[in-house]
């Protein structure tokens, strides 16, 4: 196992921490933002609970535009905003705005799909019971969509790990950064492979947790 001695483990640990930090923080923000946006999209669309053509159109357009911009370009486009918000354009924290801007529209779209898949009949039944829109959202829509919402979180978490690696390449730190600057640029491929193993491990853990929760929740 002598090749492992080529690895600076304290750097590796730091990189793992940075990756987890970026993933978790951006995940939390994106869940919140994505859920709100997805919910608004769902209820304002035609024939839904609270149809609002213009709100829907504008929001939908924003989501589509953000989803269309490749992450690496978004990262560059957002640099001025990042500087304003975070104060610098390097480091794990500086990657957060771009990560969130990229992940929340993605999750918003998934929320919308999850909510659309809720049986229309149950919404109708709750309307017939005299439920308000808010009651329908909190008591019917969200609980019924929960497994899909959770598996969406897992999916988003996994793509976020990928995005953090890309962000790493332009100086955000984390495993991607390590793999690129130490491994590729300095021709130390062992570092690249080991970093990759950790990335894969993180992805597996996220998927595993997601699958487990969905299985627990899904009583269909």
């Amino acid at each position: 196992m002598s090749f492992l001695s080529q690895i600076n483990w304290s750097l590796m640990m730091k990189a793992i921490q940075e990756t987890l930090y970026m993933t978790i923080i951006s995940l939390l923000f994106s869940i919140l933002l994505g859920l709100v946006i997805g919910l608004i999209l769902f209820i304002t669309q035609k024939d839904s609970l609270y149809p609002q053509r213009y709100i829907f159109m504008i929001l939908n357009l924003c989501v589509n535009i953000l989803r269309a911009i490749p992450f690496i370009i978004l990262l560059i486009c957002l640099m001025p905003v990042t500087k304003l918000l975070v104060g610098r354009i390097l480091g794990a924290k500086a990657a957060l705005p771009a990560l969130i801007c990229s992940a929340s529209p993605f999750y918003a779209r998934m929320c919308m799909i999850a909510l659309t898949e809720v049986d229309k009949g149950t919404i109708e039944a709750s309307k017939a019971m005299g439920a308000t829109n808010w009651q329908i959202i909190t008591k019917v829509l969200l609980p019924e969509a929960k497994p899909a919402l959770i598996s969406g979180i897992a999916l988003m978490g996994i793509s976020l790990v990928g995005y953090t690696a890309m962000a790493g390449a332009i100086g955000a730190g984390g495993l991607g950064d390590l793999a690129y600057t130490y491994g590729f640029a300095r021709n130390n491929l062992v570092v690249t492979y080991v970093s990759t193993c950790f990335v894969v491990l993180i992805v597996f853990v996220i998927q595993g947790i997601g699958d487990y929760i969905v299985k627990k929740l899904d009583k269909r």
Binding site: A125, A128, K139
Partner: protein, 338 residues
């Protein structure tokens, strides 16, 4: 009383306009089980959905106990809806909630305090006969049990009206029977007005006091169950009445005859109008010399003409019997072995 007055409903989609209801008027008395029957697309669902304003009429009025419900404010309408239970063909239960939580949903919506809720749910579970299944999830229940949950849920806020949209259409005949018994019991014991929509004649025949027949958005006939069955006026009604005398009854007769004549062969012969006035049977009996006995027969007159059904019993299977059947078939009589 539910009073539907000159209600029309037009759905506009991009391509065309659908007139789902055309000037419908109907009075439903308190405490009665009122059936609305019609073929698919007749506008039945639209009609009930207008009663609780899930659908807003294009014109006309709906009064419930004298109150024009389309004039109610949003808030008052929601209050009113709590007093109008509804059950559905596909039950529409929340899969994420257990039986007792499903039944508690309307109580939560009505903001009933928790301890009262639990007591209420317990009583409802007893009423619909689901003791022991409180903590099951809908996916663990049979269709009939799911509909019982649906009924309990619909009754949670002590409604005065229960709307049933094809509530038994997804169930087998036996389960249908038990659900209909439950509905009758609810009507009887709680005095709830039931509006029951269906395309199954057996259902209205079994439990409805009065019936309206719908066709293409119009109510074409209204009357008591008895008058509708004995003197159907509109062609659609006649078709329904004809359907039932040929499906519902036949199964029953088959069963009865089988128990009466456990041995030998029972044949069901069906004649249609073109041949029912010829002496076919007499001729064939003479030719084959088969010892038959006629055990049941009836004629149905309808707009489609006269239809005769006759049951005959033969003590044993012989070549004579085969010959007999062959001759009948050549005379275009439908022969079925029961």
């Amino acid at each position: 009383m539910i009073s539907i007055q000159d209600v029309s409903k037009t759905f506009s989609t991009h391509e065309k306009q659908v007139e789902a209801l055309k000037h419908c008027s109907l009075d439903i008395n308190n405490g009665e089980i009122f059936g609305v029957i019609g073929y698919s697309g007749a506008g039945k669902s639209t009609l009930v959905r207008i009663i609780n304003q899930l659908e807003r009429q294009t014109s006309g009025h709906v009064f419930i106990d004298g109150v024009d419900i389309s004039s109610l404010s949003k808030k008052d309408l929601m209050k009113k809806r709590m007093k109008i239970g509804m059950i559905f063909q596909h039950f529409n239960l929340l899969w994420s909630r257990t039986v007792k939580d499903n039944i508690a949903l309307p109580l939560e919506i009505a903001k009933v305090p928790k301890d009262k809720r639990q007591e209420k749910v317990k009583n409802l579970i007893q009423l619909v006969g689901l003791e022991g299944r409180e903590n099951a999830f809908p996916s663990e229940l049979s269709g009939g049990q799911k509909q019982r949950v649906g009924i309990a849920r619909a009754l949670a806020n002590d409604p005065t009206i229960l709307l049933c949209d094809e509530a038994t259409s997804a169930l087998d005949p036996e389960t249908t029977e038990s659900i209909l018994d439950l509905l009758t019991k609810i009507n009887h014991e709680l005095g709830i007005t039931i509006v029951l929509i269906t395309h199954q004649m057996e259902v209205v025949q079994k439990i409805c006091h009065r019936i309206a027949v719908m066709s293409e958005g119009e109510i074409v006939e209204t009357g008591t169950a008895k008058t509708i069955f004995e003197h159907p006026q509109h062609p659609v009604t006649k078709r329904f009445v004809k359907d039932i005398s040929h499906t519902g009854n036949i199964e029953r007769i088959d069963q009865e005859l089988k128990t009466l004549y456990p041995d030998g062969v029972i044949l069901r012969l069906t004649f249609d109008e073109s041949i029912s006035d010829k002496p076919i049977l007499a001729n064939i009996i003479r030719q084959t010399d088969l010892p038959i006995s006629i055990v049941n027969s009836h004629l149905t007159h309808s707009i489609a003409g006269t239809l005769g059904v006759m049951y005959i019993h033969v003590p044993e299977k012989t070549t004579k019997l085969d010959q007999f059947i062959e001759l009948l078939v050549t005379e275009r009589v439908k022969v079925e072995v029961v």
